[in-house]
């Protein structure tokens, strides 16, 4: 067993452990912090897969953006208001666990059908920013445009949805 394999096992175990922590943590803020750990370990795994650009994007977009956004909303909503309260249907977590075990078994079986060895050709394209950037803006230019439109629409949609109704605000001020 070489160093790369030991490193993969360590980081993968940390990643799975953090994922289990997200699902099982009692306090929602702890879940968000476990999620942060999970995203950082995945960024490390991306870099071991020669995807340096996506590793950096993972840290910036997920760890720096999405987790912070979720934490903001947790603070805004107040995590003490978010009880999990599954007591009256206590069989649900066990049904979920059973379905998850079936899912792992099926996916693992499907993925072990064809053993995929790492590529031997040394001329790996790599995922460094210049290579990915040139590829994105030549082969995938339509995709980049669509992503830009999607992000703009999502921005406007989030603004429209999260805005308080002006009349409601006036009433609140009058009270």
């Amino acid at each position: 067993m070489d160093f790369a394999m030991i490193f993969f096992i360590l980081v993968g175990a940390l990643s799975v452990g953090a994922a289990v922590g997200v699902v099982t943590a009692k306090v929602a803020v702890h879940s968000a912090l476990f999620l942060l750990t999970h995203f950082v370990t995945l960024a490390i795994l991306y870099i071991t897969l020669d995807a340096q650009f996506l590793g950096a994007a993972q840290v910036i977009v997920y760890a720096g953006g999405i987790v912070i956004l979720i934490l903001f909303v947790l603070m805004l909503v107040g995590s003490e208001n978010l009880d999990t309260r599954a007591g009256y249907r206590s069989w649900v977590p066990y049904a979920g666990l059973g379905l998850g075990a079936v899912l792992v078994a099926a996916l693992g079986f499907a993925m072990l059908q064809t053993p995929l060895n790492p590529p031997v050709l040394p001329a790996n394209l790599g995922g460094i920013p210049p290579v990915v950037g040139v590829y994105l803006y030549s082969q995938g230019i339509l995709l980049v445009e669509l992503v830009a439109v999607l992000l703009l629409v999502a921005l406007l949609g989030a603004l429209l949805l999260a805005r308080r109704n002006p009349q409601e605000q006036d009433e609140g001020r009058g009270r």
């Binding site: 799975v16 999620l35 599954a86 792992v104 992503v147």
Partner: protein, 100 residues
């Protein structure tokens, strides 16, 4: 180098943990986090196969998935906050206005 199969199986395990979280937790925010985990496991699979076949299309898809995940979180959290203003709850058992 680590064989691609190990990455695929790690992705499958993370996907299943996320699916279990979506099915069993009642807190809408934690369900969001689990959906993000599932999207990320697919990203891991795509990047592993992108290295396997020495093809950058996989990394391009991951780029798009990241953008979609960011948009989804922004809109989803806006819906959640907007709904929270009315009902003061984020328990998905109580968010059933559209239930027929």
């Amino acid at each position: 180098m680590v064989a691609t199969n190990f990455y695929l199986i790690l992705g499958a395990i993370i996907f299943a943990i996320g699916a279990v979280g979506v099915l069993s937790r009642r807190n809408a925010l934690i369900i969001f986090m689990c959906v993000e985990m599932m999207l990320n496991s697919v990203n891991l699979t795509l990047i592993a196969l992108s290295r396997q076949w020495n093809n950058l299309n996989g990394q391009m898809f991951v780029f798009v998935i990241m953008a979609v995940a960011a948009a989804e979180v922004a809109v989803g959290l806006a819906v959640l906050v907007s709904h929270f203003h009315h009902t003061k709850t984020a328990n998905i058992d109580d968010i059933n206005v559209l239930k027929w």
